[in-house]
């Protein structure tokens, strides 16, 4: 059975030079789509991936990552909306490239769909009351 998940990988400094994603493709036949990547000297690397493939192979691939010393988190935990600050103006709706903000046509209330979020971060600074928070 196929599985597709968006995950956040945290690389310790000692691993940033190793071709980790290559192994996921080569050894576990997983497809990947990089949504965000950043590495800074003396700090950990960060990679946001959409990973697709056979469920068993996917599980093995994740195991491999963990064994190698990479911290794996599901992406949805990382972008949150501060419900107290959100005023439901709707400025985010057309800014989000993934369509993660949906306006209820009757009430004009804006809902945030974590599942669709690709953690690009565009909404963070574009939200006037700064209700969107990103935590990696």
């Amino acid at each position: 059975m196929a599985v597709s998940k968006r995950i956040v990988l945290h690389f310790p400094p000692r691993l940033v030079n190793r071709p980790i994603v290559y192994r996921l493709v080569k050894d576990y036949d997983l497809e990947f789509n990089i949504l965000k990547a950043s590495i800074s000297p003396e700090e950990e690397g960060l990679l946001v991936l959409e990973l697709r493939g056979n469920r068993q192979e996917y599980e093995k691939g994740i195991e491999f990552l963990a064994r190698t010393g990479i911290k794996v988190q599901p992406l949805s935990q990382d972008i949150t909306r501060d419900e107290d600050r959100c005023t439901h103006c709707g400025a985010c709706v057309t800014i989000c490239p993934a369509g993660a903000f949906v306006l209820n046509p009757a009430t004009r209330v804006v809902s945030f769909d974590n599942e669709k979020c690709i953690a690009c971060g565009i909404c963070i600074a574009a939200c006037p009351p700064r209700a969107m928070k990103v935590q990696f």
Partner: protein, 401 residues
């Protein structure tokens, strides 16, 4: 018909019939104008959006020994306040920024904290850092002051906004090939999105388009407390083209408002940051409209389909002050989520919160029904179409020494 004092008698007896500018639509559909005008006493409106001409004046009390802040320098949470008044009177404007804010040096700037945020935190009851320097006088010897102030301890804190509640506004688009960062939000290149900013059919001045009801002295919902209209707002421009129903087809009337900050709530005065543009304050305003005639009621039945707004390019037309518009669109069209501009389908978004506007209209309705809020007779009218007011631009002239 009823007079305002008759309506107030009903409010005090708890018998007033109060509905919002949304609810009135179905009532009139069902009962007709004449019967609805007899039965309904008040229609409430609301709007909640960024309003840059907002600020507060404070009297912080006298320190021991005394310091003359007037003519000196004062910072509230690092944001500069205006000190050109008496010894301990200050004014903080919502777009003021800390001196060390990077602003747009790294474009687009974030503008995370400004005067609007200071006002929000003050209203929320948080301590605010006041840092001041002064020149010292015989009667005000102190030259430095660093202290915390709190809303409950200072003499006065008054929200005083020279321009709020714009009657209609532009729909902003971007014809250029790069993203631009404006007071109308982030505009994506090549007509990537269209941003509007009005509560439309719930908006205060769109329900009283010819200022028949609102005037100087009108009591309103302001920032979660009560406030008053004190004057027409700056840039008040009643002479713009209007529809047959009197609704302006461009940004038109505005209100200057005032109210006791100590009675307001942070939920309705929200510091906001416009990326690449600046900091400002989202303000909640609600105007009650006493139904003293069929005519006044008819104006409150305006719907999103009746209100047209001009589509304006903010990459070239707006900054260069060119008059061109890319067409007109109704709020009903804007609210479908997409409009057509130059043959292209453009997704729309709002900067004004409609759910919050509804909540304001409902809150004001509840206050009136419970007898906590009575209506006022305007002391003087706002300048209308007949005033001949025109919108003046600044034509710069060389200074010859």
């Amino acid at each position: 018909m009823k007079t305002i004092s008759e309506i107030n008698e009903k409010i005090k007896r708890g018998q007033a019939v109060v509905v919002t500018a949304e609810e009135i639509l179905d009532i009139v559909k069902e009962k007709g104008i004449a019967r609805a005008a007899r039965e309904v006493d008040v229609v409430t409106t609301g709007t909640f959006g960024p309003m840059c001409s907002s600020g507060a004046y404070l009297n912080v009390g006298h320190s021991k020994p005394r310091i003359k802040l007037g003519g000196g320098r004062v910072y509230l949470n690092d944001v500069p306040a205006y000190t050109g008044f008496a010894a301990v009177d200050l004014m903080i404007g919502c777009t003021a920024l800390p001196d060390d804010d990077p602003k747009n040096r790294a474009h687009p700037g974030e503008f995370i904290y400004g005067g609007g945020h200071v006002i929000e935190e003050l209203v929320a009851g948080k301590d605010i850092r006041l840092v001041a320097t002064a020149y010292g006088t015989d009667c005000y010897p102190r030259k430095k002051l660093e202290t915390l102030i709190n809303l409950k301890d200072i003499n006065e804190a008054v929200l005083f906004n020279p321009r709020n509640a714009y009657q209609n506004y532009n729909v902003a688009v971007n014809l250029s090939d790069k993203t631009i960062y404006t007071y109308m939000g982030v505009l994506k290149p090549k007509l990537g999105n269209a941003n509007y900013c009005s509560a439309g059919q719930l908006s205060p001045l769109l329900n009283d388009p010819l200022y028949k009801s609102v005037g100087i002295g009108t009591r309103i919902f302001l920032g979660g407390g009560t406030g008053y209209v004190v004057w027409q707002g700056t840039q008040h421009n009643p002479g713009v083209p209007r529809t047959e129903g009197g609704v302006p087809r461009k940004p038109a009337g505005t209100l200057a408002v005032i109210g006791d900050l100590k009675l307001m709530k942070p939920q309705w005065l929200r510091g906001v940051s416009m990326q690449g543009y600046g900091a400002t304050l989202a303000v909640g305003i609600g105007l009650p409209i006493p139904i003293v005639s069929e005519e006044v009621l008819r104006y409150t039945t305006v719907t999103d389909a009746d209100i047209l707004a001009p589509i304006v390019d903010y990459s070239e037309t707006y900054p260069q002050r060119k008059p061109d518009s890319l067409g007109e669109v109704s709020y009903a069209q804007l609210k479908t989520g997409k409009i057509k501009v130059q043959g292209k389908e453009v997704p729309t978004a709002s900067l004004s919160s409609y759910p919050r506007a509804v909540e304001i209209a409902q809150t004001l309705k509840r206050w009136i029904k419970q007898g906590e809020f009575t209506l006022t007779e305007a002391v003087a009218p706002l300048p209308g179409v007949e005033s001949g007011i025109t919108f003046k631009n600044l034509e710069d002239r060389p200074i010859v020494e």
